[in-house]
Symmetry: D2
Subunit: 311 residues, 4 copies
């Protein structure tokens, strides 16, 4: 059943944070931390919530834990904002299973990156979407994430997929904004098709040049900052945009740049949330939380940025 | 509980076919085909059976179907050869779940490629193995498959992993035999540590130069051919080795080379089994079975090779 | 016309087109076409000219032809705008040779991508720059072009390189604007260090968010368009920016998107210049000019865009 | 000594060492070292000599130095073995220039990897060969080196290229021996077409399974070892093959495995030649010679292997 159309705007605009998944250990939710985190994010006036994405470590979590998370988040958010649920999986059947759970729990949409073990061609990928979408009980956002899936939704594939009933938008995390601008140009006759940007470093320009919103990981930490930047860009207040974009970049070049590159974003983000007392910083394998040296560096960065009070 | 050591030799030698998973549709086993396929393979005097690997399309299958497959295969094989079960998953917890199912069903070992969504570093990969192995009820073979997982088990990581209790061998599907020879050289003081080669095109030389065995996909189709080649290489009968290696290459350059490259091996193999009446050729998404033009090409190749009778 | 061509502004701001190299055949300049092209570009009020870059097919040209091109361009431009000369080569010595030729001919700066055969590490790359820069008679711009060189100038390497006397800026053609924004943030205390963007699709946002200029291939064709967009972005005229950015994207999704992807930009650009009667469309190996079907498509696109008159 | 150096056997069989280029600095040959090195290699009864390949650092050398090297090597070898000269370059014209120099100096053949800056498609690559080969004054060997050129000669491209007059063989340095075996199978009706393997770790199996020879970098150091292994494999003396293959692997896992991976082979090889007093260990940029810690490690390895006497 399709959700109430009032709940999921077309296009979906604004800041939709990709929520981290607070964990006590590899298979146990940090329930208290989760509750605090949800309220912390919603207090920032965000426009939606995306769970079980890359920032949510979905591929590292058991299916049972994913189910529990969907239930808890939907119950607590209780319709205050639309909830998008990641259903990316190498198995078609498991993707449908998660989507059904999401619909049953009251979520508004699902989000799917390409299956990421077998290297599908673009024709196979499009056929995959044509088979999958009718099986889904909720509208579908595509999720372009080539650095992790090693497979891009080529622009022509997105244009063709946008014709499938139920495919309502795309979140692009490629960081290749030429790609994003091409999507905008190719889909200019589809103003209802949502175009969201992943990397928060690109939020300012995305909104200034006609994109609809951002899935900003940093909005776990400072939701209001990204909402303010979004609003400033919408109202063409360039001076504020420049000031807030600079803040975003200051976070990016400090908090996300401690330790090894590939996972430093995720580790830095969870570590920061722990420093602020919001939730646990446990990371599921193959990663692990920052040890004390990196934690000190993060803490220092947060103090320098005025996010954490000196103690 | 560790299995009877008589059942899993150290090292494990010989031909251990990576079984395809016969399917009626994306979530239904072809049970009759599965039974025929198992007997067809075992009739070839193979030395083991590897299920739920890449050739078995494991990442594309639901967890329920994987469970059913493990049960059925273990019941039917009934100790005639050791069974190795693939437990590769992006989720640590799900890998353990599959391993427990394998042990409960009577399998002899499990096989694990690196988690393949998040890009772990080698130190993280080794830590992953150190955390995972104690949770596993069966001995573990590593599975080097960089073209699909995008992450190699570096030789130094394998050497360190070989020190972990329960890690008993590696299957290398990289096709980079410099890598394989380096493993052999670095592990020469560990004659009990099993070194298996993936690509069947490399079986002859692997055995001639001291490797222990091969996980040959073609042994789904012609198990005796690969067993004969293995035996000839073991007994240093170079004339027979050359003759059978040539047959292996003839299959590789015809049956596996129809249609698109990346998935042509899997499609050609399942199509051939269907042409021979052994099992259904359905492939789980993101792939699909060969259409009629490619099926005709496969059928013609099988006739030319004397595998299929002209009709 | 600039008052003193010897002065290279710090930072260098504006539109610096990467000039295509007009050819009659693989080793002969289209001299008349070259003269027309230079005047066509300069008539667009550009702020510099970059020759022997990727768009200039430098790696495909003989060293003699590169020398002749440098001479002819410097003589004809005659100080009207600064000239930047690409010296990228796998051989240190040959890079220095081209730089000396550039200085002797009156160019203002040189541009260097990493050597692209042997895979240098970042430390080796930095050492390379430390050895090379003192041998160069002109200021050096780095050139980040990972899709072709397979080697990125990591942000930390750029920050360190910016400390070397003679290194005055970077041109980033990665299309990864997170990278570009990180450079901006890390170099915020070096307002003299030039930050130029390669892909013209990113010109609008680059200038809006503090970048200095663009090396826009399309400015071979429509120099005034990119200069106007640059000026609009500098003066914060967002309405004009949006209108012109849309034109840039219309060119990108039509003229650059005919035929095979990887080389379609270069082929489409040279073909367009030929359609407009400016210069020959011969491409040096490994590429070749568009055949008639693609040429018709380009011609049609140019008419639709109002660049070419219907005939 | 060969009776007639003008005759290039078809196929070319045996050990053809890819000679390192002894350097005093980045643009000066170590002439005395070069003379010693040539005699050292020829004393090992090798079957040819390949200069200006990857091991010869050709892409890092100036064109003048390459010319001087060709002249000196041809003069000194004086027909004792066939000389193959690398002409790989991103510029078609420069490749022809080097080939002409090689012919004038008395070399027997040239060797070409794909142009490695612009990403050519397979059709473009084949057209490139069709244009280039008629311009070459000497027979041409293809050179498959995807890790550095990022472009593979696909098997179908090799089969088509083998039909071009003047294309006489291929050297495969991919380390993917499935690829090599496929070439053998596809070219089985062309017994005159030479198939050489690059990585010396694969020499044993290549010869056992019908390949023609090896371009073994280690033969700069120990030419007789690789010639002995080649001869043992030709005469099907498996016991000797196993013993010598083990020596080859011992060198590979020690001398080539010091320091950073990508360039450790080249650095270890030049360092070893310097330890033995044969030639200077200077490496052209972007690399540099091993510093003292790594040199000590190399020296220790050479002593352990019995190549260098304890002092």
């Amino acid at each position: 059943m399709k959700p109430d159309s009032n709940i999921l705007p077309a296009p979906l605009r604004g800041i939709i944070p990709p929520m981290v998944t607070p964990l006590l250990d590899r298979d146990t939710l940090d329930v208290a931390g989760l509750e605090r985190l949800i309220e912390h994010i919603l207090a920032g006036s965000v426009h939606g919530l995306f769970i079980l994405g890359t920032t949510g470590e979905a591929p590292s979590l058991s299916h049972l834990l994913r189910s529990e998370l969907i239930e808890r988040v939907c119950r607590q958010v209780a319709g205050r904002v639309p909830i998008l649920v990641g259903i990316t999986d190498t198995s078609f059947v498991e993707s449908v299973n998660i989507a059904c759970k999401a619909a049953d729990s009251g979520a508004q949409a699902v989000v799917l990156a390409p299956p990421y073990y077998f290297p599908a061609g673009q024709a196979e990928l499009l056929e995959y979407l044509r088979h999958l979408t009718p099986e889904l009980p909720l509208p579908l956002f595509l999720y372009n994430m080539p650095s992790y899936t090693k497979l891009v939704f080529e622009p022509e594939t997105v244009v063709a997929a946008a014709e499938i009933a139920g495919v309502v938008g795309i979140k692009d995390s490629s960081a290749n904004i030429v790609y994003f601008h091409r999507l905008q140009a190719l889909l200019k006759k589809r103003p209802d098709f949502t175009l969201l940007i992943g990397p928060e470093e690109l939020l300012a320009e995305t909104i200034l040049l006609g994109g609809h919103g951002g899935v900003c990981g940093g909005a776990n930490l400072l939701p209001q900052l990204y909402v303010d930047l979004y609003n400033a860009a919408c109202s063409r207040d360039l001076q504020t945009v420049e000031r807030l974009h600079k803040k975003v970049m200051d976070i990016s070049t400090t908090v996300y740049s401690v330790g090894r590159y590939e996972s430093s974003f995720l580790k830095g983000l969870k570590c920061s949330l722990s420093c602020l007392g919001i939730c646990n910083d446990f990371l599921a394998e193959p990663f692990h939380r920052f040890r004390s040296a990196e934690r000190s560096a993060i803490s220092q960065h947060l103090q320098n940025l005025g996010i954490l009070q000196d103690n």
